[in-house]
Amino acid sequence: MKALMSLGALVGVVGLLLLAGMVFDIIPSTTVRLVEGYMPMQMLFEVGCFVLGFTGLSYMLNAVGMGIPRFWQGIGFWVFFLLYIKYRIYPPIPFSVRAMYGTVALVAVLMWLSSNEEDWKKFKQPILNVLDAQTGFNKFLRYVYLVALPILTWGFSYNAMMPKSEEPIELRTVHPAPPASTKVHGKTYVLQTALNPYRVNPEGKYDQEYTNSLIVEQGMGRLMKPNANPWDENATGYLKYVREGGEIFFQNCHFCHGDNLNGRGLHAFAFNPIPANFTDPGTIAQLQETFIFWRVAKGGMGLPNEGFPWASVMPPWEQHLTVDEMWKVILFEYWHTGYYPRTWD
């Protein structure tokens, strides 16, 4: 038990030092990187680690007789969480969202503190002590609070009322509801039934299982399977179409969506929101191939209102590409990211 708790304490201290170092720029802020596409999981994992670390730390401090009172533990953890979501998460999230997380965290802390009567009493005690002001120090504290609270409230409300020019928050639906069918180059495609004509096995039949076995491997780098090189001179069928799709992607799409399909292309920095990151499990991995076909063909202009047409510079690709070219690009995007298109069943 003791060894386990010491380990926890060690993790906690190292984590805190790392975090503080990164926030104050003592060590490079990229020391522990946010892994692309896995940020929420990583955040949860990191906070979990810190909780374990704090538990260990608290145990160790108690063991050497320097335990921190419940009251300060609660407040300390809450403050830690607020600072964590403010400084750790990148890109930064707006204050209103942080306020929501902060409130949830506060409720969680209060629940933890009031989980049994004794703990709750221990938590309340310092507050009541100051209110009752039995000792000289508490008396002094009480006067400090009496004076400081109104002044602080005045300061905060003054600050809040000063006219400010912060960018208004505009939340937008990332994957708006698609139409039942879409008409591209004079032909109507029903999204439920249309199939990518290039997702085929060597017999020329539509075959997800076969094509999925040839896509890029998941894991760092997302490299192609050693025996499935689209650039092999003898590549035929699916792999040849992947290469052709890649050629089209790199002649048209990489300017925004990037060489690694992660939305960091040459022009990406100028746009808001920045272009979609296909390596993120929340984009094409979540969607049917026909949905992508509709989005590619109609672009930002074809978005319904909740998707904010004006916030997208995505071209209606039907202006630039043929239907075949669009299907091939989609084939390539799934190949390169190593994701399976979602199916209807």
Binding site: Y90, S157, S165, G221, Q251, I274, G300
Partner: protein, 591 residues
């Protein structure tokens, strides 16, 4: 040496550039005989990578790199013809960003991924900002990056060998042990003198905006190449994602950039002088109002963007002098510009990649001060073949596959010259749009959601248009033009300064149905367009920004002073109540 001589000779395209280059290659000859230049030390070629690594690297290459660099590494992948700079052709073994002496191969050791000791590894890790080469850190593992380089250096570099001790030497800049000189005023001042003395300004321009000799320079592959703009250090190829680090500039200045007209100054300057120059160049890079480096967005490696352009109120006339205090005190905003790649003709290479915007307003008008770097002042000769209102004009889009000769990189020098221009677009009746709706960023949506466009061109004209869709010709608002004023338009040393004043609108004499009404304290969606005439920009071939907001800072309302005081008193009462309650409760208990 012989080889470099011929390379250099092929570069001599203009008299001035040629003169500098000859001097430098002349001095290079001297150092070959006399030993190692100051700050360098002898290095060893690294041992060759293992065959397993090369094989593994091939897999990385054909997943990630082949798309730009091509099957044979000749820089002719599918993406190449629409890119400028073109992807690197590895075959010659010419690599730009190095710690090794001019003309030498870069440092590469497949077993030593140590930053600052492995040039090619650093390049793959951090990418080459300002080009299409992204940073691969976080995408490829360290191992994978070394593997792919093992493949590139052994299989795709064909004219030279990274292991041939007979033909290759390594003379390495000892950057780790050279301590940067503090960027004192004195050092910067000396640097400023040295860039004149060493003729840096002949290419990089008097203010260092890369506008000297901008279109007469060619690289080893025959493509047009532009001198770096010292004011945008985040676009330095060798910035290693650390653009304000003076050591990067020191390195580039010491070793030169192979394959380009940028020579090494290792033999013609002392270390001390090189630090002075590096400090000066670094001091030119854009900084915030307090003189601190701009914060760089780690996702894009460009300055962080604030989408709100605040406009400060002024009493009386808006000053036309941009040095006026009012202009100095109003915050400026970095507006990022991307190529218009939504509709034909798409602009794959936009030479204008940012604009600095400031704004002031008085009771009648709002003024925008737009400053942007453009290496060339472009004014079309003669009359343009289309009317100012025409949108669907006949400009060719770069075809996807052309081969080197027809590529976008080869065309950079040969575009017909049109007018440099800038435009500000705001929605008409933005107040009446239902909440999430704005007109489309590109020339508005339709008659229902039109936009108000004010466009200035380098021929001195200022025009007002109404836009009703990306493919609809503009409608001219003739009657409005008399209200528009160009308070200043000047091109100086690679930078345009344009100051446009327009009415706030919503006055009786102006038509509210056609013009944007600029209301104080409201977020007015604003888009910027820019055209570089020497890039053949006209019509939809242009650079575009995202939607920004013009926000006219209101005078501080009285409530701001009153309410907080009231709230503070409320808190005092609350405190009294809590204390009394607690005291009563306790009394009750003890009683």
């Amino acid at each position: 040496m012989q080889k470099r001589g011929t390379q250099v000779a092929s570069l001599v395209v203009s008299a001035t550039a040629g003169a500098i280059l000859m001097t430098v290659s002349g001095t290079a000859m001297v150092f070959a005989q006399s030993g190692i230049p100051e700050g360098f030390k002898k290095g060893e070629l690294a041992p060759p990578p293992s065959p397993e690594m090369i094989e593994a690297g091939k897999r990385v290459y054909f997943t990630k790199c082949v798309w730009c660099h091509g099957v044979d590494g000749a820089g002719d992948g599918p993406a190449a013809d629409r890119l400028w700079p073109r992807p690197r052709n590895f075959n010659q073994g010419t690599f730009k960003i190095r710690l090794t002496a001019s003309g030498e191969l870069p440092l590469f050791d497949a077993k030593k991924p140590i930053p600052g000791q492995n040039d090619l590894f650093d390049t793959v890790t951090h990418g080459l900002p300002g080009s299409a080469m992204p940073p691969w850190e976080g995408i490829l593992t360290e191992e994978q990056r070394l593997q792919v380089l093992a493949f590139v250096t052994t299989q795709l570099v064909k004219d030279r060998s990274f292991t041939d001790k007979q033909s290759e030497t390594q003379t390495v800049l000892n950057l780790a042990e050279l301590k940067p000189k503090p960027a004192t005023e004195e050092s910067i001042k000396r640097g400023a003198e040295l860039v004149v003395e060493k003729k840096c300004i002949e290419c990089h321009g008097v203010e260092g905006r890369g506008d000297g000799n901008a279109f007469n320079l060619k690289d080893d592959w025959g493509f047009s190449i532009q001198p770096a703009n010292w004011h945008k250090c985040w676009n330095f190829r060798g910035s290693r994602q650390d653009p304000y680090n003076v050591a990067n500039i020191f390195r580039t200045f010491s070793t030169g950039i192979n394959g380009t007209p940028m020579p090494s100054f290792a033999d013609s300057t002392t270390i001390d002088e090189r630090w002075d120059i590096a400090n000066f160049v670094n001091s030119l890079c854009e900084r915030d109002a307090k003189g601190n480096p701009l914060s760089i967005d780690p996702l894009t490696d460009k300055p962080k963007i604030d989408f709100v352009i605040p406009s400060n109120p002024v009493e009386g006339e808006i000053p036309a002098d941009i040095e006026h205090e009012a202009w100095k005190n109003t915050p400026r905003r970095y507006v990022a510009m991307g190529g218009q790649i939504t509709h034909k003709p798409r602009n794959f290479v936009n030479r204008i990649d940012d604009i600095w915007v400031r704004s002031l307003y008085n009771e009648k008008s709002i003024a925008y001060l737009l400053e942007w770097d453009d290496r060339t002042k472009s004014v079309a000769e003669g009359k343009l073949p289309w009317a100012p209102t025409e949108v669907n004009i006949d400009i060719e889009e770069q075809p996807p596959v052309t081969g080197e000769e027809g590529s976008i990189a080869a065309k950079q020098n040969n575009y017909p010259v049109y007018n440099d221009a800038i435009a500000i677009e705001t929605p008409v009746k933005w107040q009446e749009l239902p909440a999430p709706i704005k007109p489309r960023y590109l020339f508005g949506t339709n008659e229902q959601f039109p936009v108000d466009i004010v466009k200035w061109e380098a021929d001195g004209s200022i025009r007002a248009f109404k836009g009703t869709g990306w493919d609809k010709d503009f409608e001219e608002r003739d009657s409005y033009e008399e209200y528009l004023k160009v308070l200043k338009s000047e091109w100086k040393n690679g930078r345009w300064y344009v100051l446009i004043e327009r009415p706030l609108g919503n006055k009786k004499e102006q038509d509210y149905d056609e013009d944007t009404f600029f209301e104080v304290g409201k977020y007015i969606p604003t888009v910027f367009f820019a055209w570089d005439g020497h890039n053949g920009d006209a019509g939809r071939k242009m650079a575009v920004s995202a939607f920004y907001y013009t926000f006219m800072n209101p005078p501080i309302p009285q409530e701001t002073y009153i309410y907080p005081v009231l709230i503070a008193f409320g808190v005092v009462f609350l405190e009294g109540w809590v204390l009394t309650r607690r005291a009563n409760k306790k009394k009750g208990k003890t009683l």
